[in-house]
């Protein structure tokens, strides 16, 4: 055809620029010397050296890549033969198979994920590498069929017969005639399958277990606090992809020419050998060596100084399988689906629920000698009277983080009503959590945050609706912290520990707890009912509240320690200037969240959905 116009080329470049802009930003900021993702403060390789030392990321890369390759190969073969076989069936069979095949494509990922999770749990599968692989094949194959089937349909139905009339066996007709004619469709399907598998998060998260994680799961847990090491990782991924592509395009044609004279059977042998080697390697890597004791710990994301885990493993000659969750509710869902752990670190109200539903076993405090160093203020709370089941880990309050340059100091006396002050319209973040938001409204109205009184709940709902209508707040998640570090808005509702971290990164910010009272919360270590390594679990709990570990932990995370010596050390040292580190639990209007009856919980959740979706 005629020359490509300047406009066509320009359009291609423009579209590619659009696709690559976010990646380019990621790559550039992976060389930033500070954590900021909006301002370059200097060039450094800091994040690359951190990445190299990160074993978790290395394993995740391996899992993602090997699962993506295996799932692509298997689903491409399965999908292609199915598409070919399907074309000669009666219409009714075709319709049924294709409609069933469309289900994983048209269902929201979360539904597929839950369905598969239910299936694996009820069939008694051990969750991990194999379940993740099965799930990936399950959602990749439909994409292969959808892209291969139209190609098969456009083939002449007599093609295979013609080949066989000329003496080809059915297998030869298939591999030498049909497959080459539909190879674009097969290739497109394989590419799609690889893309889907490599990038998958939701399904992987629900069907995996026992410490097997892919890149997405690691990233998701990292993004609570943007960690530029992950930018470094994606830069490397991009560079590797480009290198592979270039070498495929430049070297493969040459290689093909050189191997042309080799006997096909030899070539086939080599291929089979390579595939077998890959599979063996995968199986070896997929299973965790378990000669020594293994402790499974389940904690919130970015909520521990990871070097402590290495230290513990060395000291006790054991393996810690460490997994993280995004919210207490997510942890509960996984636990309820039959996943087993030894030590959990949930929040107060969730511990109360776990105790009520018999998920936990009592602690033997004689095995935790470091308990003597715990602060009196954090012990014996309503969620677990006498600390029969739980050993406090971190604690804090919920309050308002504000920009001192924008918010008038005098307005702070408004307390929670500051969130309804028209002066700051459009300039605030609410925390996207029904429990915390209703706590604010209830406290602003002078009620208990644990109320079950319908009228009070209704009034709080109206408070929140009015706030939404008059203030235009953004209901955000953990991205609030990065937004506040960048100074995007002036006011945000945050947990005190997140405030400490934000203030240490952006000194313009300050924190206060409103005078109408707030939520005081405790996160604590508990031992599950099925925990068999009870000695090791106690040793772990004891290790985490050892004064030295506690200092390292609180310094790294910014949350307030429950260990007296670490708490005092921080108030004199790193967090001396930061008011949010100090937890003031003296106000009698402050409360702890209590266990919610499922009916009440649903009521709150429903109203919160209505506040947001109106």
């Amino acid at each position: 055809m005629k020359k490509k116009s300047f406009f066509s080329r320009f359009y291609v470049v423009l579209c590619l620029a659009f696709f690559y802009l976010p990646i380019l930003v990621t790559m550039i900021f992976s060389f930033n010397s500070s954590k900021s993702l909006t301002r370059m403060t200097g060039v450094s390789l800091r994040w690359y050296s951190e990445l190299i030392n990160n074993v978790e990321v290395a394993r995740a890369v391996y899992v993602s890549l090997s699962i993506a390759i295996l799932a692509t190969v298997i689903s491409t073969v399965l999908g292609t033969i199915t598409a070919i076989g399907l074309s000669s069936h009666r219409k009714i069979v075709k319709d049924i198979v294709l409609n069933v095949n469309n289900i994983p494509i048209l269902n929201p990922e979360i539904v597929t994920a839950i369905g598969l999770m239910l299936l694996f749990s009820s069939a008694g599968f051990r969750k991990g590498y194999l379940t993740m692989l099965l799930a990936h094949i399950a959602f990749c194959t439909p994409y292969v069929i959808t892209s291969v089937y139209p190609k098969v349909r456009s083939l002449d139905p007599n093609l295979a017969n013609a080949a066989m009339d000329l003496g080809a066996t059915p297998f030869e007709a298939l591999t030498k005639v049909i497959v080459p004619m539909i190879k674009e469709g097969v290739f497109a399907g394989a590419l799609l399958a690889f893309t889907m598998s490599f990038d998958d998060f939701v399904i992987s998260y629900f069907v995996t277990g026992n410490g097997v994680k892919n890149i997405s799961i690691v990233v998701y847990n990292m993004t609570k606090r943007i960690n530029p090491t992950i930018n470094a990782l994606s830069t490397i991924v991009i560079v590797v992809i480009i290198v592979v592509l270039v070498s495929v395009n430049v070297f493969l044609p040459k290689l093909e020419k050189r191997t042309d004279h080799i006997h096909p059977r030899v070539r086939r042998g080599v291929t089979i050998f390579l595939v077998a080697a890959l599979c063996l390697g995968l199986i070896r890597c997929g299973s965790i060596s378990s000669q020594n004791h293994v402790l499974k710990v389940y904690n919130a994301g970015e909520y521990i100084d990871l070097s402590l885990l290495d230290k513990f493993q060395e000291e006790y000659n054991c393996t810690v399988v460490y997994e993280t969750f995004e919210s207490n509710e997510m942890m509960y869902t996984k636990l309820a689906s039959g996943e087993s752990y030894d030590v959990l670190i949930p929040s107060d109200y969730m511990i109360e629920r776990l105790i009520k539903e018999d998920y936990l076993q009592p602690l033997d405090w004689d095995l935790i000698p470091n308990a003597s160093g715990l602060m009196e203020e954090v012990m014996d709370k309503s969620y677990d009277p006498g600390n029969k089941y739980s050993c406090p880990y971190f604690w804090g309050s919920v309050g308002i983080l504000y920009d001192r340059n924008i918010v008038d100091q005098a307005d702070l006396s408004e307390g929670w009503e500051l969130l309804k002050d028209p002066k700051y319209k459009g300039d605030l973040y609410m925390y996207d959590s029904e429990r915390d938001s209703f706590m604010i409204a209830l406290k602003a109205l002078g009620y208990s945050m644990n109320t079950v009184n319908e009228d009070e709940i209704r009034e709080a709902y109206e408070w929140l609706v009015e706030q939404r209508d008059t203030m235009d707040p953004i209901y955000a998640g953990d991205d609030i912290m990065d937004n506040m570090i960048s100074g995007n808005k002036a006011i945000a509702v945050v947990y005190s520990g997140d405030a400490s971290y934000t203030i240490s990164e952006n000194p313009d910010m300050d924190y206060f707890t409103p005078n109408q009272g707030t939520n005081i919360w405790y996160d604590a270590m508990v031992m599950t009912r099925d925990c068999s390594e009870t000695d090791l679990a106690h040793a772990f709990i004891n290790f985490m509240i050892d004064p030295e570990s506690a200092i390292a932990n609180t310094e790294e995370i910014g949350y307030t320690s429950t260990v007296k010596s670490a708490y005092d050390a921080m108030l004199d040292g790193t967090y001396a200037e930061i008011s949010s580190y100090l937890v003031d639990d003296s106000d009698p209007r402050n409360e702890i969240f209590g266990y919610q009856d499922p009916k009440i919980k649903q009521k709150y959740a429903e109203l919160w959905t209505k506040v947001k979706a109106q």
Binding site: K4, S8, Y11, V12, C15, L16, F18, F19, L21, I23, V25, T26, T38, L78, G79, I81, G85, V93, V97, V100, P104, I105, L106, N107, V111, I114, L116, L118, L119, L134, A135, T146, S147, P150, P157, P170, L174, A188, L191, D199, S216, I226, S234, I238, L245, N249, S327, E329, T333, I474, Y475, G477, S486, N488, K601, Q602, A605, T609, K612, A613
Partner: protein, 272 residues
Amino acid sequence: MKHYKKMIQPYVVWAALLIVIPLILIALYAFTEEGNEVLTLSFTWKNFAKFLESTYVNVVVKSFWLGIITTFLCLLLGYPLAFIISRFPEKTQATLILLVTIPEWINMLLRTYAWMNILADNGIINQLLDLLGMRPVNMMYTDFSVILGLVCNFMPFMIIPIHTSLSKMDKSLIEAAYDLGATPFQTFRKVIWKLSIPGVLNGIMMVFLLSVSTFVIPKLLGGGQYMLIGNLIESQFISVGDWNFGSAISLILAVIILIFMSLMKRMDKQEE
């Protein structure tokens, strides 16, 4: 092709185990109530009745509206790109299609986070505007940011199937059309567009399905007030713990989409 009839057997078994059974489990939840115990079943329509409240209907309307806009924009921007790519030499085509696909291999969450930093109030674009002495523009947590994120993420799923049908098109057909005196516009409308319809329908289907049920991108780029059907289902399973209602919503979504699909299929047949 009769010889290959049996080749669908492995997949039939596979699909029954890994697609149908999980769905039955979900349907079981949708029509029952109380807790996560399968043993204490009691049949109910309650979960579906609850869905008829205006809040939830609005959520569905918003999701479909967003899905339609995203699909339309992907088609509008993606079709020309697929068309231009299909006119390059074959080797260049393969490279360009790979270039379109590669961004999808970089974690979607990471790319979305990068968009957040580009669009934020003190983000990269606004810093540039500031340098140029212009007033900052509020882009984050708006329809604009959400649609931008969705289009950037899902456009490759429109481009690839369209390109597949355009590239297998017989080029001499176009020449024939010109020889017979067709204008470029007529050639496009009567030949090229007609022949690319299977790819277009495929692309529309993929993008629409992906964008109507998405929840991570709207949540990050639109904030919590961007409540879509995907978020609603997610929150039922994760934070509310009402698996029954969550299952009911996903069944309803599945049915609506099945209807949509059969409409598309009818269009496909008419074109044939």
